[in-house]
């Protein structure tokens, strides 16, 4: 690699504070560990994202393809100031979320991708990335858009987001804004998690990021219909 050219291609980066891991107790009683992904974790995360690109239902294909590109771009230093949080149950990766900072004050929420459904994992992960933006980075607002009706219902309606002028970085529909005020208004109702994570739970999550087989991931996303085939 020509590092002289590379020097120009790599974006400068803000120094972001760490996101302390937390544990969310799910409806099943299972423990969802949400923690910050490191750049080195990206290749294994991409293995879990790849199968979702084959699923049309609920726009998983579009979200999966975009998450794949965004994380790959971050891994190879082509996306500026991105962070990624991931969710694990017993070490198994069940979802990822990412955001890019437009500035210290303004975040651009990119995507929420859950590969385990029916447990509000996407909602818990989305809440976690907003928690990181507002409570740890100290942002004033995060711009949000949605590609699927589920995303629209979860974010725009549940958080009472405010319509904003202009365009979101992802293009698509009208951008909406989550302000600090709105975040804290809804925090008790929507943001779950406890800290510190018990050592034994965190150790399992950190030991290895387990990725389900492609069949298992598709089964989880598509549900019983796939079992029938």
């Amino acid at each position: 690699m020509d590092m002289e050219v590379e020097e120009y291609l790599r974006p400068p980066e803000l120094d972001l504070p760490p996101y302390p891991p937390k544990v969310v107790t799910l409806a099943t009683g299972g423990k969802l560990i949400i923690r910050q992904a490191r750049r080195d974790d990206v290749p294994i995360i991409l293995e879990a994202v790849r199968p979702t690109m084959k699923v049309e239902r609920d726009f998983y294909d579009i979200v999966g393809a975009r998450v794949y590109a965004e994380l790959l771009g971050w891994y190879r230093y082509r996306v500026r100031d991105e962070f990624c949080l991931m969710g694990q149950i017993d070490g198994l990766l069940v979802g990822v979320v990412n955001t890019r900072l437009y500035s210290r004050e303004l975040g651009i929420s990119l995507h929420t991708l859950a590969t385990e459904r029916g447990l509000r994992i996407g909602a818990h992960l989305f809440a976690a990335k907003m928690e990181y933006s507002f409570e740890y980075i100290g942002q004033e607002e995060v711009l949000i858009t949605a590609e699927s009706p589920i995303g629209f219902r979860r974010w725009m309606i549940e958080y009472e987001l405010i319509e904003r002028e202009g365009q979101h970085e992802l293009g698509g529909a009208t951008p909406y804004g989550l302000t600090r005020e709105l975040y804290f208004k809804h925090k008790d109702r929507l943001v779950a998690g406890e800290r510190p994570v018990p050592e034994e739970l965190l150790a399992v999550a950190e030991k290895e990021i387990l990725v389900a087989s492609e069949d298992d991931i598709l089964e989880k996303i598509l549900g019983a219909k796939r079992r029938e085939r």
Binding site: G29, P149, K225
Partner: protein, 394 residues
Amino acid sequence: MRPVVVAGVGMIPFERRDEDSLMDMLATAGLNAMDDAGIGDRPIGSVYVGNMASGLFNHQVSVASALVDRLSLLPAAADRVENGPASGGSAIKNGFLAVASGFNDVVLVVGGEKMREVIGPKATDIVACMTHPQVEYIYGVTLPAMAGMFARLYMEKYGITREHLSMVAVKNQANGLLNPYAHIQMKITMEGILEHPQAHINSPVVADPIHLYDCCPVSDGAAAVLLTTEEIANKLKKPLVMIDGVGQATDTHTLQERSDPTDLKAVTLASEQAFKMAGIKPKDIDVAELHDAFTILEIAESEHAGFFPKGEGAKALERGETQIGGKLPINPSGGLKARGHPVGATGVAQVVELVWQLRGEAGDRQVKNAANGFSLNFGGFGNNVLAFVLRRKS
């Protein structure tokens, strides 16, 4: 009246079925019931289709006429039967009467609904069309809202707690895991939906005191039964399951007009009628499928149908009597809570489950030695209710 036999049953898994039209689902369930009975080329005299709102959900009406053609059953008589969430039960009642009266020898009853074609709030609105337009609907009343008001009153009157409601949810979702046709295939825990300090985020309030996990899902699905005479059934391949009792009763359209809104009179009357016709008592029932669109309803219906005295249903639940293996297993299928509630299909699916139970074909959720079964299909908010008593003929 002639005795009526359920000679064949069929279902498709309840879930979100994007790939299938309503007609695909009705036809598949119907064919499954015909295959199950081994009816061969015997003519089917009538087809009754239980469906609540295909015009609103799917922009298609006259679904019974379409189905007989799709199934190549022409020139069979065909009727769509609409009775809100009790459409399936009403369709079975009509099929029963056709065979019992001698009008037909073989009848196919199919119930189905494709609700996921519209978004959740729209589905809730369509279902809410069954409320009184001038004194309920225009004020924003939905079925979850009615369940919330009913649950609050019932809890205050009988000392029921949110813990009891959650116990119904946990039990029925555990049962659903044993049913390959159930929409919800997920075990939940009391900790996860009630006891943990943050459980309210997993199971948020829908209409206090009803929370998310107190509600059935919105599902697509279809179920079917083939009814015939004992003489014909004896020539077919399946053990005989008789419909011994049928009951139906109505109550005021609006909840506010009832002298005691916690008294589900139509449930009591329909159940009494079905038991009287069958010549047995609630204590003789081995397995029951009740209409738990909301968890409170399973408890209230178990009392109003006569299985437990008022206020005792929750105690029976606490003692585990309504679990599989208990004294009276209720909703071994997972009920509406886990199997799902495609409204027009539900009353038929309840009878399908009873037939599987009475034949000993219910797999991991089989209730041992089940000989008598009971189902209750609750229309409106208890303003039009159907009850059935089924018996395995030994």
